[in-house]
Each structure stands twice: as C-alpha cells, then as structure tokens.
C-alpha cells in the first residue's frame, strides 16, 4: 500500500463536504506517478524515452498526453503524469532503477507531497505565505509550459509551477513529504481565514 504523506490526515478527516462559493480548492495529488533523475546523460535519456524536455532550467513543459517534464536545474528533471495514464511514466521509472539505466543518469526519489491549489484567493494565500511575487505568473500562465519557481513558503522549500486550466490558473507545489502535516494544516488554516475552502482528494491510497 502506498500512502500519501497526507494519508494520516485524511484518515482523521475522511469526509470534508464541499463548500459552495469556495475561494480556494486544495487537492492532494501526491500519489500521481512521478520520478526524478539527474546527471550529465539525463536530458538525452529523457528525450530518447519520448518526453518533451524543456530547453531552459527552471521551466516545465507538458506534452499532449499530459506528462509534465520540469527542468529543475541544468541536468536535473522531474517527470510527472498530470492527466496521463501511468503507462507514460512507469516504464522509464523502472528503467531508471535497473541495470539498463545509463551510468550518466541517476535516479532521484520523488516521494513528494504534491498539492494543487486554485481559486480566486490563490494570490492572497501566496501573499501571506511566500515572499515570491506570483502575480505576474498568475496573469500570464499558459496551459502547456511555464516557469518553475524554487522558493520558500511558510518556512519550507517548495518547487512551484503555475499552469492555466479550463477553470483558471492552477498552482502545483512539490514539497518534502516530511513537512506534509505542517505544510498542509498551515495552508488550510491560512486559506480558511480567507473564505470558504474546498479540500479534495483526487487520488487515494491504493494497493500497489
């Protein structure tokens, strides 16, 4: 059984009824298929595996299947199936930890807490929790590519990515899972002060 870093929290609060007119929506997506890799051969290896690799560090691209490839540094990458079927990610993930993986590519464990936040109060929430100005990114974010932001929110290092979905801008945060309880409960507390919030769990714990 894989358990989201927020699994224990959702066990305590399993049914959070949706609020009409919510200003924020929080979704735990930690169980999305995902892997990380780095090393001098990582870029070529990803491209050969059929991924759309963004050319610039600190940027991300989403292909037509809904696979996100984030370039976190010159030679470090995060690959995650946003809307894609796991099959688009899992084979490469398996190869990464097998003997077939080139010696110039190193696996990076990505057991992150992954949260998506959307809603009218997103920028207000960010203004109370983060010293980075997301407003320009919120205005000009696109659906298939964007800037990756490394910053600190409420004292915790995060990787942030903004993309435009049908309902508006969606902020994805990748966070060290050991901070999950603190990060989640604090964001809910701050968000709760801003108005009604909806807490969603699109992906639930599942047997492997």
């Amino acid at each position: 059984m894989r358990l989201s870093p927020l699994g224990p929290w959702f066990q305590r609060f399993p049914r959070v009824p949706p609020e009409a007119g919510a200003v924020l929506r929080f979704d735990d997506l930690s169980l999305r298929p995902r892997f990380g890799c780095k090393g001098p051969g990582a870029e070529v290896w990803l491209a050969n595996a059929g991924y759309r690799v963004p050319p610039e560090p600190n940027s991300a691209a989403i292909d037509a299947d809904g696979v996100l490839v984030a370039r976190l540094a010159t030679s470090e990458f995060l690959v995650e199936a946003l809307d894609a079927v796991p099959a688009r990610v899992e084979p490469a993930q398996r190869q990464l930890t097998s003997a077939a993986c080139p010696s110039s590519v190193y696996p990076v464990a990505r057991e992150d807490l992954v949260i998506e936040i959307e809603g009218a109060a997103t920028n207000t929430l960010l203004r109370q929790t983060c010293s980075f100005d997301f407003a320009p990114l919120l205005e000009r974010c696109e659906s298939a590519r964007g800037q990756i932001v490394f910053t600190s929110m409420i004292g915790v290092g995060v990787v942030a990515f903004l993309r435009r979905a049908a309902q508006g801008p969606v902020l994805t945060l990748w966070v060290d899972p050991s901070f999950a309880h603190y990060f989640w409960t604090t964001l809910l507390e701050v968000g709760g002060d801003l108005g009604r919030i909806n807490i969603v769990r699109t992906l639930i714990d599942k047997p492997r």
Partner: protein, 970 residues
C-alpha cells in the same frame, strides 16, 4: 476646547455619535474622532501623565507621537495597553483610562515625583544600580513604579497574518510631494504603491492652510488623480517602519504587517514639527501648531479659545491665520526672529490688518499653569515689534511653530549620507543609494509648488531608473525662500522644567549635566540620558538635543551628526510582529503509527520523535528500561527516519567520500558499509554516519539528524570547490528508515523478504537492496545499539506498510517499538558516541578515542592538516567512560554535571544513565588529560553533592561485539 461647526474635509461623521468612558466618566465623540479629538471636543485638556515625574500632559503632536497620551482600553475581547490616543479612532463603549497613574489621571498619587525631581538626576538609573547593596531595592522600586500599560493575559490571542506585497515604485508618504511622485512614476508606466500613516492622503496639504482653501484644494486635486489612476494603489493608516536590504520595507497596517519589496523607493515622509524648549513647555494647552491645525481641519476641534503663536517661520503665521479663520482668538504672535522672512511678511500683514499684535525678537520665559493644570498664561519678552519689553498674556493655548526635523529615518537605514543645510537648518540627503529617492520636506523643500515639483522629479527618476520612460537626472534642490527652522529654539529658565524630551521627562539641564559628566557625543548622550529612547524615538527631541550638545561643545551641529534610528523606528504592536506562527515541523511517515502506539514525543532538531512509548501504570524510567531489555533479549524496532540520507553518484564518488571523511572508502567493496567520521578544517568532529556502497559509482550514506540540510549544502560547495563532478541526491525526507535490532531481528526480517539473510550471503556491515513487505528497500546490517540488527530504508509512501508488517511478524517475539531514550542507553552501553552530545564545538577527532576511524595515511581529508598539527601537541581533553555501582534510585550525575580535579573544574559529563542491562550507572565524560589517566573521577551532582566514579574503558557491554554477529533467535 470646543467642537466647531462643519469644517470642509473633516474626518468625523456627525450623524454617528460614539459614546465611551474616559477615567470613569461618560464622553461622546463622533465616528472618525480620535480618542484625543473626542476628549478635547468635550473640554478635556489633560490626557495623560508623564513617564517619570507624572506631570499632567495634553495634546502635543496629534501625529502618532503623543507618548504622554497612551491609553488602556477595555473593550470586547480584552484590554489593550498603550493605545495612542492622538491617532487611534475611538469606538463605541470603549472604557478608557490613561496609563501610568496611581489613583487616576486627575489625582495621580505619583505626581509627588515631580517634587522629587532634584533627586532624580540624569543617568539616575545607571547611578542607582552602581552599588550591589542597593541593587535589589532599586530593582523592586523601579519595577513597581515604572512601565506603561498593562498586558491583559486573558485577552484573545490574535494570529495577525503577515503579508507580502510587491510594486515597481514604493512611495512612502502621501502628502503633496508623495502624491506628485506617485503620479509621475505611474504616468511613466510603473506600478506604484503609495502609503500613508494617516487615515487619508494629503498630509499637511490638507491642514496647514493659512486660512485659505487654495492649498487644500490643490492637494485634493492630486488625491483625486491618484485615486483614479489605474497603476497606483493607495494604502492609508499604514506606516513604513523599517527599511531593509534590497528595497524590502516593512509596512504596518492597522491589522497586519506587510513586507513590501519594491524596485525603487521614494521617501516623502515630510518632517516632524519640533517644540520650543522653555519652562512650562509641557503644560496641557502648549502644543505644536500643526497639532492644533490637524484638530481644526480633521476633527473640527478648537484646542483653545485664546492662543499665543510662538513661531520662527511662515508656517507659524499660517497657523495664526487658521486660528482666526475658526474663531480662535490670537492674543499675539511671538516671532523668535528679529524680523520676519519673505513668506511670513505677507501673512504678518494680513494678521496685523485684523489687529493681531506681532512681537519680534521674542523670547518665551515661562508658561504658567492654571487651576486645572493646563496653561493659563505666558510670560515673554520681545526686542521689537508691537511693544518691546516683558509681557504676560492670559491664554489657554500656546501653539509652537519653530521648526522641523526631517522624517529621514528610512533614508538613514537605507544607507543615505546626510549633510546639514544651513539655509533650512536641517539635515538633507547628500548621497542616496541606488534605487532610493527623496522628495518634499525631507529634501528641505517646504512650499507647496516646490514640493509638488520635487515629487514629480523623484517619481520620474524612480520610474526611469528601472526602465519606465527615460532615465532622468535628479533635480537640484531650490534654495528655500525662508528658513523654516530656528537654529536654537532653547530658552533657559533658572527654575528649570524646560523639557527637551517629553517621553523621558528630560530637561535642558539634564542634557547639559550629561555632557559635563563626559557623555558629550551624540551616541553617548543618547544612551546616558536616554534622550530619544522613549516610544516616540526622539522624533521631537533628537534635533533639540543635538542643538544643545553642539552649544555645550561650542561646535557647529554639522560636526556632530545625527543618531540613526534602527528599524522599527516607530512603535509596532507586538501582535503584528508575532503574527501567525510559522514553525516548520518535520514528521516521519510513521508518525501516526507512533501515535497509536502511545508515543511520548520529544523534539529532535526540527523533527518530532518518540522519546519512549508510554505504558499504563508504568513510569517513564520503567517503560524505557523495558524497551532496552526487549532489544537485548528479544527484538525492538525504532524509527530512525530522521537521519540524513544522501546518495552520491558518478565515477568520482569514491574520491569525493575519501576527501569528505576520515575513513577510507576507495577500497570499500560493493555491498558493504563502513563507519564515517567527518571533520571541519580545524579537525573538529562535525558529523558521523554509515556509508554504504551500492555500486561501483554509487554510495548511500547517513548523517546525524540535525545536520543533513547543512551538510548537503556543504557537499555541493565542496564538490564544486574540488572540481569533482559528482551527482548528489538528498533523500532525507523522501526515505523512511527503521532499525530492527535484537536477537530475533533476523527471524522477523526473514518473514518479510526473499533476501538471503545468512551470515555468508549478508554479513555484518553488509548492505543490500531488496523487497521488504513488497516495498523496494535498502537494508544495512549495522549494530549501533550493539545487537544483531538491520537498518531498513524504505521510500516514504511505503514506510507505514513495511513498519506494520515487521511489527506483525515480530509479535511472536513480543517485538517492542523503542524510542530515543532507550536507543541512547543502548548505544551508551556499547560506548558509541553521539556527535553533538559527547562532542562539542571544539572537540577534535583525537580526543574521542577512535583512532581506528582516522586514516592519517590517506592523501587528503577535510581536517587532516589540523590533525597533523594537533598530533604533535598534548591533548586538551579526552573522552572517558565511567561507572558508578549504585541502585537505580540513588542520586546520580546528569549530563553537563562537572568533573572536579581538586577544587578546579576538569570536565563535564556528556552522557549518563542507569543501565538496566548492567544494573549500574554508566556514562561518558570529556575531561582534562590528567584526570583521564586516573582510576577514579569526582563528579559534582545536584545540590552540591559529589559522587565517586570508576574510570573504565568502553564498551561497557559486549566489548568484543559478538552479539552483532550472533545467529540469533529463529
């Protein structure tokens, strides 16, 4: 004191009366009234008592700096101390009392201190505490007598949020120059944040009118443009309290703190009007002219019926005209100068035409109190004008307009250099740092037209400097038509009570005496006399103090230089600073498992860990002892997921680790682990852990809990420094880890994995990658606690499942989860050190008795060169083991208790405890070498008692390490 008919632009809502209580009496104001304006409108003159002498005090500035009008406000939700009456709007049903009184404002018993002033000289506090004998008495007395409001500990806790904000240009101050600056910058395309401490923009443009509507109307035009400009955001009732590097500015809004980052900052904060220093200048009714004007135009309150205007600038004449315009009788205008300036002359003619007497070369002698404690008459003399000579005039108000001090604290904090300008008698910016601009009165510019022009230029420069429009040159300051500030508005009286600092009740002679005692620089004078150290931070006292210091030293003021106000330069509510608490806490994925097992938590760095697992009916000590016994006799399981977990990849990985650790890793076989000790350049132990070789070019190693983040950053730095292209991956948060230890460890693990656990296939110190309970794991066969043991490292999301599986399999052996305290005892029994506990910030690797871990024959490792030097020197200290045969209940040493050598301190206990395995007290101590070589130690324990300990060589338990290699229970 009375409420006037409607005044254009007043801030009060006359349709909404507000009832409140002040000092037990019902009062009424209007919505929009400050506490002070409502009280003055109701006829009050005394608003509070002074800090030291408990003298009656009234309105002074009406600008947020009236430290003698602080109030204790009881309202719904609790009691709030030190509410600033001069700027805080009164609300219905508030119960208000002046702070710092005994027996109420009218009959303050501590006003007796006013008569004791001769016995309370400058520097009294320092002198009082000079001798030991009286120290406690003085301390008790000061604690009883001093302090302002009272904190209500039952009040509802406020989790005031902090916010961040961003803009291209931040304009601080929305007076005429700030408004013009904001418009100019926004017109060039910049996003502008304009802030002002007042409830509405306009600054002095709305209240220093000189009896005419023209200035206010021009200011309102600017406000209207600002309000409708799409690129300008205006924040009112918000003050900038501090400037920090990279154009970060802290803004204090009524309910929260804003940290704003701007690309350019314009300081347009204006100037603080300064009081004249003369006997009785603190009496209620004696106030700054600007305070009286604020009351007239913002709150429609006349602060007096008949006033004298004491002035030395055109602004004073304007105040006299404002008084006349609202029916306040002007008994006389006293101009300190021998003749008026250019702008004053025009206004003087207007006043003379209405029959007002103007005295030139005037000198106030004394303000005298009436029966109610407020000013009743003023004695003065004049050299020319209406009637030269000595005069007494009956008044209930004295308005002082003798000069200004620029509000330039933020510029100082930003690193601006100031110079003293004689034409305006004030400090003005001489050099501004990049991205910082100033305009208006801060620049010594006082007329409305000049302020607007100065603001426009600053706005254009600030926007142009960051790429909005063309870059423009800063405008040269236009010389003032009339000096706005008197160079020395200080008038001695033989009986004293000429107050310089109203916060601290400092008189002229206090500062002169401080100088005579040798505290004759601006910084020393400030600290010894406490001038400028009260809540208003010298806004009305620093310049006069500097002038007095210059006078005493006989030097020009420009040679002394001002003091710099640190952030926050204006008082900030503690609730704003505290805000909502953000204290990141890390939890392992097993946190809820521990919770259900009855864990008692303890902090470990920023993690929380189980100290032990509570058992109903058992004490803490007993529960911990049970956990220790379980590991020694059956099997235990501990969560060690807080350890740092790092991978290093690449062809240079082994070389990198060779340099990092004292131990050798180049020859470490794939599938094996080795202990690693890490030093800093001085040879001091900074960390230790286990390094496992997973492949020829892949190592996986652990660090201590508190060091993982710092070390990971350092590894990156060192890899770059050494030009070793290794791949570093920090897995600390992404992997869980637990240690399965005890004779039955192998049997429990065996049930959950297909891995061959035989000694031949998986020997002691081996490392393997295998599935455990269906999850991909790394398993290290290590023995930190001295038993057959396996450290299982598992990806975060699988951790809980593996933990539960091991507990389930271990149930037949009565497996026992154990916490940090049991682990500490288990490793102590083995004599294993804990870095940071058995070592400190100066303990080098030669002092802890682990020569086997230091390979001095390697070509290089961090700290090696220092150890080569230290090897040739005698040791400073040594880590020794000791035991004390005793029962569990006898008093015994605690960590940090001192080791004695005769009457000298010779070391300290670093680890100690009662071993349930050995049945005696054992410990480690860092001691001087001469003590280490003896057979016995003397340790001073609680209450001065001493115990004798026997020095022995660790390990205390299983000295040959046989139990780590046993076959174990099956």
């Amino acid at each position: 004191m009375s409420r006037l008919p409607h005044v254009k632009g007043e801030r009060i809502d006359r349709d909404t009366p507000v009832q409140f209580t002040f000092e037990g009496r019902r009062q009424q104001g209007y919505r929009g009234d400050t506490v002070s304006s409502a009280l003055l409108a109701g006829g009050a003159r005394i608003l509070g008592r002074s800090f030291k002498y408990h003298r009656p005090r009234g309105l002074l500035s009406a600008a947020g700096h009236d430290v003698n009008a602080l109030m204790q406000v009881r309202r719904e939700g609790g009691s709030v101390p030190n509410v600033r009456a001069d700027v805080v709007q009164v609300e219905a049903d508030w119960d208000i009392n002046a702070v710092n009184t005994r027996g109420g404002l009218a009959h303050d018993r501590l006003s007796i201190l006013n008569r004791l002033a001769p016995f309370l000289p400058v520097g009294f506090y320092y002198k009082a505490f000079h001798g030991k004998r009286w120290f406690p008495r003085w301390e008790r007395m000061f604690r009883t007598l001093t302090g302002l409001g009272e904190v209500d500990l039952r009040a509802t806790r406020r989790t005031t949020p902090k916010r961040y904000d961003f803009c291209d240009v931040l304009v601080i101050g929305a007076g005429p120059s700030g408004l013009a600056a904001a418009l100019a910058a926004a017109d060039q395309g910049a996003s502008v944040l304009l802030v002002d401490e007042n409830p509405s923009a306009g600054g002095s443009g709305l209240y220093a009118r000189g009896g005419s509507a023209r200035l206010a109307d021009q200011t309102r035009e600017l406000i209207t443009k600002v309000a409708s400009h799409a690129r300008i955001r205006l924040l009112t009732s918000t003050y900038a309290a501090g400037y920090y590097a990279d154009h970060w500015v802290s803004l204090v809004a009524p309910e929260y703190l804003v940290k704003v980052r701007a690309r350019s900052v314009i300081v347009a904060q204006g100037a603080y009007e300064q009081p004249a220093v003369f006997r009785g200048n603190d009496l209620p009714g004696v106030m700054l002219a600007s305070a009286a004007q604020r009351m007239l135009y913002h709150y429609a309150v006349a602060t007096a019926h008949r006033v004298v205007v004491l002035t030395s600038n055109a602004e004073g004449y304007a105040a006299a005209l404002d008084a006349l315009a609202h029916g306040v009788q002007v008994a006389a205008v006293l101009d300190l100068r021998p003749e008026p300036g250019r702008d004053s002359t025009i206004r003087a003619a207007e006043l003379v035409s209405t029959g007002i007497l103007i005295h030139y070369g005037a000198r106030p002698i004394e303000a005298v109190a009436g029966a109610d404690g407020g000013v009743a008459r003023l004695l003065f003399e004049s050299a020319s004008g209406a009637a030269p000579g000595r005069h007494t005039v009956d008044v209930d108000g004295v308005w002082m307009s003798v000069g200004f001090a620029p509000a330039n604290a933020l510029l100082h904090q930003a690193g601006a250099r100031m110079s003293y300008e004689r034409s305006t008698e004030q400090f003005v910016p001489q050099m501004l740092p990049p991205g910082i601009y100033a305009c208006g009165k801060v620049n010594g510019v006082y007329s409305l037209a000049e302020r607007v022009a100065d603001g426009r230029n600053a706005g254009a420069c600030a926007a142009g400097g960051i790429g909005f429009g063309a870059e423009k040159a800063r405008r040269a300051t236009v010389p003032a038509r009339e000096c706005p500030t008197h160079p020395y508005p200080v008038f001695r009286h033989p009986l004293g009570k000429e107050f310089v600092d109203f916060d601290e009740d400092l008189q002229l002679r206090d500062l002169e005496n401080a100088c005579q005692e040798g505290f004759d620089s601006s910084e020393l004078l400030k600290r010894f006399s406490t001038v400028g150290m009260g809540p208003s931070q010298g806004k009305h006292s620093n310049m006069n103090a500097l002038r007095i210091l210059a006078s005493v030293r006989g030097e020009p003021i420009e040679r002394l230089g001002p003091t710099t106000a640190r952030p926050m330069f204006h008082p900030v509510p503690l609730s704003h600073l505290a805000g909502r608490g953000f204290t990141p806490e890390r939890r392992t994925p097993l946190d809820s498992e521990h919770e259900s097992l009855g864990a008692v938590w303890m902090p470990a760095s920023n993690w929380r860990r189980p100290e032990y697992y509570a058992i109903a009916g058992k004490s803490r000590e007993s529960a911990i002892a049970d956990e220790v016994r379980a590991v020694r006799t059956r099997v235990g399981l501990i969560d060690v997921g807080t350890l740092g977990k790092i991978e290093v990849h690449g062809p240079h990985a082994a070389q990198f680790l060779e340099r990092l650790y004292t131990t050798r890793f180049a020859n470490l076989k794939v599938g094996m682990t080795r202990y690693g000790l890490m030093l800093d350049e001085a040879g001091v132990i900074v960390d230790d852990g286990v390094v496992g070789r997973l492949g020829e070019q892949t190592f996986y190693f652990t660090t201590t809990t508190g060091n993982s983040g710092t070390l990971f950053r350092e590894f990156g730095r060192l890899a770059t420094w050494w030009d070793l292209p290794v791949g570093l991956v920090n897995l600390t948060g992404h992997y869980a880890a637990f240690n399965l230890a005890g004779p039955a460890a192998r049997a429990v693990l065996h049930e959950n994995t297909d891995l061959d656990l035989s000694d031949e296939a998986f020997p002691y110190l081996g490392v393997r990658q295998a599935q455990v309970a269906g999850a991909p794991c790394r398993i290290m066969r290590v023995g930190f606690v001295g038993e057959l043991g396996y450290e299982v490292h598992v990806p975060f999301q699988h951790a809980a499942a593996v933990w539960r599986a091991l507990l389930a399999s271990g149930s037949r052996f009565q497996i026992q989860p154990f916490g940090v305290e049991a682990q500490r005892m288990l490793r102590l029994e083995k004599g294993h050190i804990t870095v940071g506990q058995d070592t400190d910030g100066i303990t080098n690797a030669l002092e802890v008795g682990m020569p086997w871990a230091i390979k001095m024959d390697k070509p290089f490792f961090v700290g090696q060169r220092s150890l080569q030097v230290l090897e040739k020197q005698s040791r400073r200290q040594a880590l020794v083991g000791f035991n004390i045969p005793s029962s569990v209940h006898e008093p015994r040493p605690k960590e940090c208790h001192l080791v004695l050598d005769g009457s000298e301190i010779a070391g300290r206990v670093t680890s100690v405890g009662w071993s349930p395995t050995l049945g005696r007290c054992i410990g480690l101590a860092l001691v001087a070498p001469q003590v280490a070589s003896r057979k016995r130690l003397r340790i001073r324990i609680d209450r001065g008692a001493e115990v004798d300990a026997e020095v022995i060589q660790p390990p205390f338990y299983d000295p040959h390490g046989e139990r780590q290699r046993v076959r174990g229970l099956l």
